[in-house]
Symmetry: C2
Subunit: 333 residues, 2 copies
Amino acid sequence: MNQKLRVVSFGLGPIGQRAAALAASKTSLDLVGAIDVDPALVGRDLGELLGSDSVDGITVSADAAATLQDARPDAVIHCTSSFLPVVGDQLMAIAESGCNVISSTEELLWPRLQHPDIADRIDQAAQAANVSVLGTGVNPGFVMDCLPAFASSVCYGVESVVCRRYVDATPRRLPFQKKIGASMEVDQFNDLAAQGKLGHIGLRESIALLGAALGFELDTIKQDIQPIVATRALETEYMQIKEGQVAGIHNTGFGDERGKRRIEMDLRMYVGAEDPVDECVFVSEPPMHLRIEGGTQGDFATAAMLVNGLAGVVAAPPGLRTMLEVPLVHLVG
Amino acid sequence: MNQKLRVVSFGLGPIGQRAAALAASKTSLDLVGAIDVDPALVGRDLGELLGSDSVDGITVSADAAATLQDARPDAVIHCTSSFLPVVGDQLMAIAESGCNVISSTEELLWPRLQHPDIADRIDQAAQAANVSVLGTGVNPGFVMDCLPAFASSVCYGVESVVCRRYVDATPRRLPFQKKIGASMEVDQFNDLAAQGKLGHIGLRESIALLGAALGFELDTIKQDIQPIVATRALETEYMQIKEGQVAGIHNTGFGDERGKRRIEMDLRMYVGAEDPVDECVFVSEPPMHLRIEGGTQGDFATAAMLVNGLAGVVAAPPGLRTMLEVPLVHLVG
């Protein structure tokens, strides 16, 4: 790439801040604006906020339209919410302003699964403006979907796949430990899980993407959430967990095709996990058993994928795209 | 894909035959022609040759131009030689006839490393005809280059990479066992290796592709070939190997940037390997340690990549392309 890509950060939560700082450190990118509606952030100097010397002269603005018009970015890094109904208007406004978008919105990984109408509207807006919109991250976006999809490239045929991701939550930040229910009582966990207020977002989207990549015509995609209960006292920087309290979450999912189980997902994120790993095992010809030893560190990895994927979303054909339609993402300088 | 891709097989050696049979089995593809100059194959019925009921009415032809003109394929699966100077005219003729090409030619993975002039000519011909040309396979093409390239998508930065591929040659076909020098005397192996008549082709191209993906400006790319000597008597279906004879090959390679070792390749293919694996270990932030347990079976995997990659080469922008420029390859139906 000869000319630097001009980038605006939209959403400055923990992942958005990491992505913005990473983008600012890349010689192929030029961070030219920052958007967030949080009153605690609006008006602040971005370099100061990120603790980064390489960001200069950018003030966080709550006015997305004005920022995009002034900064004229090639692409936006979007990190505001996991849910497509929440971000649909944001994404359409960015696309209509003529900017490509790469987003951490988990439901955007395979947007037609739960929200085909919103997906259609974003797709039309993006095509009309000749830009692309893409959802990605580490999970969903890499370990349980796109990585096994790429591994299938060397297979004749795949009968079924099991993907496992075991994450040790002990060293993770407090919001993550809260999100997985660590230190809750089991009843409280189950209540919140039943209300959809706990757990990983995007497992069904991972199943849908992987199913499409492998040519499965899945008629059933389901998930289940259970607590992982501490069998001994556990401790993190932020909390103590008693035996019998919740250590974390066990999220399972599956995709079936006419009664045949094609895809099984086994996601465990808990304090005290002793065997962190990302793993995919295919029943296939030839066999495929892929492991990432120690697993992939989630917070860093999502920020990295958003930044490394910018070139791909700019190069992709206009419209709402998935990771199966952009060139292979790799590290950018 | 609504309409079937029309495909011609060009080159019907062991890999080419496997790829042709696999292509014929795919519902998204229509195998419409076959080309080989081997007098033992010309004029034969392809279905009979492949032992495949799904191939009907195709006769192997030595006349590439006539076959391409009659069959009017969207894409050609090309498997004739490892070396770009040997296949350059073939690839240009295919491109000039208006067909996309996916090729197992190892040097085509990163064609500008050794043959920039030939690469320019193919690129011009492909652009003029509005088609794409791509080199791929399993190695080079996946385990030691594109897979670690994709793994870097979730990294902030990568200092260096070590890729290992250990292949047990015991169950492989005779030509493979011969290619790696199995059952030779050590002196004979060293003579042939010095003449460039032994060993894996494409290791330097893997280093170049991975170096480009990781943003390394490699000034030195080198390789070395050593015999792996049998420390006990070994046996395959085809041969007996005495202690002290050659069991196989140890191919090492590295890529340096201003005196710093960035990429190290360690490829061992030998009879009696007890620990077959494909593995990449990054010194990176966050760390990345990827393993394919048991390794990836080479003959199947290359044929699979050629067939699964057809959609990508058709979708890619016109010209001579690399795996870093086509959409993520995955299984096709």
